[in-house]
Structure formats: C-alpha cells, structure tokens
Amino acid sequence: MLNNAFDFEKPISELEQLIAELRRPEKQDEAKAQGIDLDARIDVLESELKRVMKQVYSSLSPWEKTLMARHKDRPYTLDYVRLILDDFLELSGDRLAGNDEAVVGGPARLDGAPVFVIGQQKARDLRERQRRNFGSAHAEGFRKALRIARLAEKFQKPLILFVDTAGAAADLHAEEMGVSDAIARNLKELAVLRTPIVVIVIGEGGSGGALAMAVGDRVLMLEHAVYSVISPEGCASILWHDSKRAGDAADALKLTAQSAKELGVVDTVIPEPLGGAHRDPVATANSIKQAVSKSLATLAKKSITTLLDERYARIRKLGAWEE
C-alpha cells in the first residue's frame, strides 16, 4: 500500500484502496454468501493496477521524479549500507574542527571484501533531520569525506560514494569554515585518488554539494533519482521570478537519470522496483549491489595509472561545445 502518495499516484492509490477493501474478511464472507467470485475481480483489478503503475512510473515528468527523489520514505544512505554491506564501522570527524553528521562513512565489507563507503545522510524524524542538517553538509562534512577517502586510498580499498543531498549548507557557519574550499578540494582530490571509486546517486543530486562526493570511475544513478545544477525551485525563481514554476524548470533542467545518462554524466541507470525504491528497499539494494559489484570487478582489473587516466578522461569529456 502506498503511503504519502503524490498527486500523480492517485489512480494507483485508489486502485490499491479498492483492492484492499475487497480483501477485507467481511467483504470476502459477504461475497462467498452471495456466490460472487471476488478473487477473479481482485485479479482483474490487480492487473489493472499493474498496468496503471507501469504507465505512471515509466512516464514520470522530471518534476514528478524530483518529488520521488525527495520522498520521505525513500531509502537513505545508511539504509543501503545496512542492506548491501556487512561489518560497517562508522568513522567520525574531520580531524580539524567538527563531526558533521550530514555525511557518514567508514570501512565495511562487500561480499566479504573490504571497501570504504561514504554518503550523504538525510533522515526522517525531525530531531535526526536537524542533527544531520537535512543531509546538507558543511565544510566539516566534506572534509570528513575526504579524510575517509584518503584512508581508502592508503589501505587500497575501493571507495563507494552515495549521493543524496539537496545541496551543501549555505549558512554563515558554512561560509566561515570554507565550504567552497572544501567542495573544491574534494573535486580535486577525488579526481586523483589512487583507488577505484564508484558513485551512486540514490536520491537528490543537488548541485555542488552532491558533486563534491560524486567524482569517480563509474557514476550510477537510480531510475527515479535526480541530479541537477540547481534546484527546480531555485531555477524557476531566477528564470521566471516564480518558484511555483518548479515543474517547468525541472523540465528545462533535464535532471532525470535518463537525461544524465544521455549527457554522459551517468554511466548506468539502475532500475527501481515498480513504484520506486521505497516500495521495495531490499530489491533496490540488491540492484545497487549488483551494479556496484560489477563496476568494481571491472575497475579492479585496471592498473592505477590506467584507472586515473580513464577517470580523468571521463571527467574531461563532459560538456557540450563546438570547436
């Protein structure tokens, strides 16, 4: 059953409610008494539901994808870490000034093999959301990420990066602690970090704050995740001085996984279960795990020199221009 349904999911939740209604014991008893074949009707409705769902979720608009990517039931980094990895041991602190809980990371095992994982971490309940600043990292968070990335390099373990943020923190403290410098430093250091890096955009890939933890050898992206230079709301305010036209801006920004793949920013779009990752986190996690394992297996065969040359070439070709 669908919790927190969006407008575009109304036909789905109506069908789901109908089916649930028909499945109630009283309804079943009633039908039996009247000799009606309720199961057949439910079957019909269920195949209709499947049809509608396929139709709705395969033709989500960019704005609808944005809503999906921000869905509060959508699995977050630590959900996937728990589902995909074993033995995760969270590390903390930037060894400079603080411990930013908008970023989590540490060593873990993927099918027995040690890796390092780092991700941006949103949260559901209000207190945890505040503690994690809604997944928007300050300089301390980006610097923690870089510290852990360097441990991966030192110990020659592959690095997995989960991206899920509306963007970097943009408050006074962020500016005081040099959030721009921290983002830039990550972009620079990840580009030459001497270990394989696989990035997965799992939810919101918001601007520089997302990119600061999204430089790697392979960039994967969930089917309904978004990745954008600016939020649709921000874009709409700048373009039309009307943040309510976020839907139009989302169209213009081409922020879907499918567009990101066409633009060469993303290598692989990982399909989500029908209805989105939050409908089946375990299945989603399995898909991610398979894609990550496959990428790492390919990358493990490369020498560091080849790896870094290809990583550089991958970044270097991004963009559109005429010579």
């Binding site: 721009s180 620079k188 230079v229 213009a252 970044i315 991004l318 963009g319 559109a320 005429e322």
Partner: protein, 283 residues
C-alpha cells in the same frame, strides 16, 4: 592536445572597452562620487574617493595585467551549444556576445607579466554573469593542461555567479573538470595563482577559484558560496557586515593577500619570480 591552427591567432578587440564613454562622467557604484572618465580610467576604475574597485571587462583586465601586446588567445574558437535547448539560452548568449564582444565568459591565452611567461585566464562578469558553462570549463581546463605541459605558471582571474544553469548538469560538471585539471597541474608542480575579483561565487568559487597555490583578491569583492541573499535567509543568524567579501574570506583563512588593483601586476610578477626559479634540491 592539438591547438596548432588557432594557437597564434590574435583575439579580436573588445567592442565595449569601457562603460564610460570618453569625455563623460559616471557615478561611483559605491559612494556616488562623480568620476570623470579620464581620471577613472587612469585610476584603473578604482574610485579615487572610496577606493571601490569597479568591475572590469576581461579585455580591460588583460590590458592592465599583462605586458603590452603579449596576450595570445588560445581556444578562442570554442563555441557553446545549447545541449538542453534551455529556454532563452541562445537569446541571452547572443545579447551577451553583443554586449561584451566576447564569445564566452572567460578569455584564456598566453602572455607575459613583467617578462615572465604565463598561461592566463580572465573571466568577464558582463558575459552572462561570468557563469561557467561547457566552454568556460573547457577553456579553463585546457589552460591548465597547457600550463602543465609547457611548464608555465597559470594565473586565473575569476568573476562569476557560478555554474551556468542553462547548460544544466553539463555546467555542474565543469566544476569537476576544472578541479581535475587543477589536480594534474598541482601534480606537475606548476604554480597556480588565483585572483578573486568581484564577484566570485557559487560553483566557480567552489571549484577552480579555490584551488590556487596562492589566492589573491581585490579589496571589497563579493566572494562566497551561496550569495548573500541566500545566506541572509538563515533564521536568527546575524551576518557580519563584511559577510562574503574578500575581507571576510581573508579572516577565515581562504585568501593569502588582498591586493589593491594598482599593485596587482607587480605582486603577481614578484610572486611568479619567487615560485618559478631554479630548483635547489633535485631528486
């Protein structure tokens, strides 16, 4: 890298060398002082009264920074496309081209500063707010690659509102591209000097503008991540008066020196001279 055919080409002169036509006065953008064009130009567009450093076009900046007749543009042939078919992008770019006489928001090339050969990049805020799209990112990256390949120091004058929205994700990726190029430049041990000018914000400040070995800035320039407007929206936070200026960033350790415009050229030359000289302790 193949840049043979255009390498020696001279860039065409700027169509609008100055916003103050000869013989006419303008008002200081900061204190309102009446500034007579000839004095204003002679004073490098710095207000003689309040020392406000007015914005310069890329051409103006080059003229007062590099040795005469030494600038040779590279990668001037690169042209933006409209990969997202983004609303109004082509129109806006056309207007920017007409206004600035440039094809893009940054000029890159080789030049000499007091005789020292450098690769130089100069942003032009007049061209769509100095925003970084594919061509800006590509030019900056190629300039750095040239510095690394030729062993020439790289100097970047920044001025930008950030990544260019109209190129979407591809604009965002220029942050990664310029930073990756800066990483390779660093590994090649080539000096990389950034000069932050008004304004340098967003994705440019959060990428190649923050990666200089040495960071200089003009006084009073707006320099910050999110722009003051965004910062101001924080609930209950009192912002310091100098929030997101050169001076604020200096206090917070992000800038080496705040250098008045009239000293910039000689400081750059001094710095370059100190960084490039012969190696005392080779492997």
């Amino acid at each position: 890298m193949n840049r043979g055919s255009w390498f020696g080409r001279r860039a065409r002169p700027s169509r609008t060398a100055s916003s103050v036509p000869e013989g006419i006065a303008t008002k200081c953008a900061s204190c309102g002082e009446i500034l007579f064009a000839r004095d204003f130009e002679r004073n490098q567009k710095v207000c003689h009264k309040c020392q406000h450093h007015h914005r310069l076009s890329a051409r103006e900046r080059l003229a007062m920074t590099v040795d005469e007749e030494t600038f040779v543009e590279i990668d001037g042939h690169l042209r933006s496309t409209d990969p997202l078919q983004f609303p109004e992008y082509l129109d806006k770019r056309k207007r920017a081209e007409e206004k600035t006489g440039l094809w893009e928001a940054v000029l890159t090339g080789t030049a000499a500063i007091e005789g020292i050969p450098v690769v130089i990049g100069v942003a032009d805020f007049g061209f769509m707010g100095g925003s970084m799209g594919s061509v800006v990112g590509e030019r900056v990256a190629r300039a750095m690659e040239m510095g690394a390949a030729e062993g020439m120091p790289v100097v970047m004058f920044t001025a930008s509102g950030g990544a260019r929205m109209h190129e979407g994700l591809l604009a965002l990726m220029q942050m990664a591209k310029t930073s990756a190029a800066a990483a390779r430049l660093d590994l090649a041990r080539i000096p990389y000097i950034v000069v932050l000018t008004d304004p340098t914000t967003g994705g440019v400040f959060a990428s190649y503008a923050s990666l200089g070995d040495i960071a200089l800035a003009e006084p009073g320039a707006i320099i910050g991540f999110a722009g003051r407007r965004v910062g101001n929206q924080d609930v209950g936070t009192k912002l310091p008066d100098n929030f997101q200026t050169s001076e604020f960033q200096f206090e917070h350790g992000m800038i080496d020196r705040i250098v008045p415009r009239k000293e910039m050229r000689s400081v750059l030359a001094q710095l370059l001279g100190l960084l490039i000289q012969a190696v005392p302790n080779a492997e």
